[in-house]
Amino acid sequence: MSQALLASGRLLAGWRLAVGIAIALFLVLVPRLLPPFQTLQLSYGLIFAIAALGFNLLLGYTGLLSFGHSAFFGVGAYTAALLVKYMGLSSMEAFVLAGALASAVTAALFGAVCVRYTRIFFSILMLALSQVIWSLAFKLFWVTGGTDGLRVPTPTLLGGSVALGAGEDKLVFLTHRYYYYVLALFLVCVGAMWVIVNSPFGKALQAIRDNETRAEFVGVQVRKYRWIALVVSGTFTGLAGTLWVPLNGLTTPDILYWPFSGKIVFFVVLGGFRTFLGPVLGAVVFNYLETYAIGFTVYWQMVLGVVLVLLVLTMPAGLVGTLAPLFARRRRIA
């Protein structure tokens, strides 16, 4: 019996590995297989997926619903923009390091205030704090450009060795070199998050999620663990913000405003927050959904709203949470 289980487990792991490799191979070949616009779309999707992965460490694994993740995304983005404005930097590595650091610091400060609360109190506090950052970006226009935002020119990659050539098409750069840069960081983030959620630390977070009191009794320092989870989560989301800026060309306070936090929640609800890869799929799918809804109808807000309502009513476990068991059952039958 146990051997059979073990064998089926190994089979499952092997199957998963095969699918994972196939997807990775597809992602590598995207610039060759798909037109430039689709590559751009996927870059956006992968970046949002990093943000969603970070967000889900809190929601799916720690049981904290944050309505303030726009703050980390925005801090990551604005860090890069301010480095351009005040220091004239153009190195993507500098942006990534500074963006991750700045969002980690922001998350640490937010955490100091928020982690002693849970449920709606945590959500609302996060929302309030994120709106403080938004109003700073919005009102200090001589620093942040106000609603006009700050422009970020094409950065150089890998210590300046990969750059946009003079007179070269920026689109080629974005859909090729920059895409691979995003993809590489995305894979690193997925790997890192996988390690984190399967580490003893990750298990402790899940214990906190399932029963805070029991977790405390077995010796988990609940607040400290929550705080660390928030810092890690904020750093991932901040990194996504930094990666997003060169793609968008500028950063505006829109990404710090509360609807953007709502969007990140949408990514994760769409994909399913009970699964590891749900948020990733949710972010990619949401990006397509939003782009095409805006492109094809002026009632795009209604389309997104209806999707959200239908999703909650019919697929509360999200895309991955609903579809994965179906696949699993089919495999068992086969």
Binding site: P35, P36, F37, L40, Y44, F138, K139, F141, G146, T147, D148, G149, R151, D169, K170, L171, N248, G249, L250, T252, D254, I255, E290, T291, I294, G295, V298, W300, Q301
Partner: protein, 455 residues
Amino acid sequence: MPEEVSRRDFLNRLGVTIGAAAASAGSLVVPTPAEAQQSFQAKGKVPTTPYKTGHMTFFTGPAAVLGEPSYKGHILAAEEINAQGGLLGKRKIETVKADEAAGTDANVKELRRMKLSEKIDCFTGVISSGNTPALGPVAEELKTLTLFTDGCTDFLFEKAVPNPHYVFRVTNIQSADGVMAAIAASMAWPKVTKIAHIHPDYSYGRNAFDHFNIAMKKLSGNIQVVSEAWPKLGTTEFTAHITKTISAKPDLLFTSVWGGDYIALYKQALRYDLFKKMKVATTLAFGVVPQAIGKDHPAGVVAGVHANYHFLYPAGNRWLPNAQFVKKYYDRWKEYPTFESEGAYTALHMLRVAVEKANQLVGGWPDDQAIIAMLEGLMYAAPAGYTYIRPDNHQGYKDALTGFLVNSPDYAFPVWDLKRVITVPIRSITAPPGYPKGEPTTTYKWIEETWPKSA
């Protein structure tokens, strides 16, 4: 040290003219345009594939009362051109539309989608000054011929796209808004000194604030800003801003709030009798579809049109392009056009003229480079008057105008008092080509350095 002159001399030097001829537009017989009678003969072989344009404007939210007319103006021009067989008589114009209310970041994505996925030939529209500086550089990256029809911030061609190649903007430069309101206010109420401001908190509001203040300082000498309120764009709750303004006891309120925001502002201001307590000058009271402003709006207010166009001016048959445009627009949409309609309409016709000129030179369908060469320096007799595209910065210029609101029995909504329409040659209120760039805008610096101070 700038010289001092009397206010009257100063205004004369600016070339300010005040409309005198009043005529009811409805009673006139509009002559058939001469243009329609002669058809254009294209040189060489022109393909019959459709010419795809992407038009972005506000279709949802409080700005839709401003955005819809832009789309209607665009469609009217496209239908007129298509009735002649299309561009060069062969290429029918097809339009893809997009909602600007999706936000700056989504708009960037949408422009890319339109170009890369829908394969548009030309991008038009865009209302918000927050969006053109974001979309301009993307249009240049994508090598997309672009005719913005608003989003008139000086910032676009001074900083965001300082060397435009593919990007043009047809409607008037934004600094003209604040300056025109200042000219109108100082002419109508020479004694005002205490000024209150309510502006949307983004580039347009700050641009209006800066240029109104500098022009007013030159025109009226010592002015004092007694109150500032900066509501967020898209706000429809102004009570706090109104009470703050009233409590500062200003002589004049200057506001650049626009779209549905302005409708909410004036309706709420009525409840507090704001209009009885101070004079009011606006840059965009007449920006929305005319019927969106009710007859409850007090008369005598400076009702700006973004310094661009009002359908009653030039009145009657004095300027046929306008008489014909208003009639065609009314017949098509059963409402009167706004400056947004005129801008979008004119943009497409200027494109048509540029394509025709380029065709005469190179034969067949001209490439974008040839069309761009023809657009640079193009002068077109638009409904609003002669519109000129400066080759050095791709910005469209026309004489700036503003007027005073009046409730006429001829219309179901307030219109301009045609006896008091103020027109100023654009070169009198905007920095000329080659003037050294300055902060916050070149025109601001130019006014500060070159305008005399009126005594």
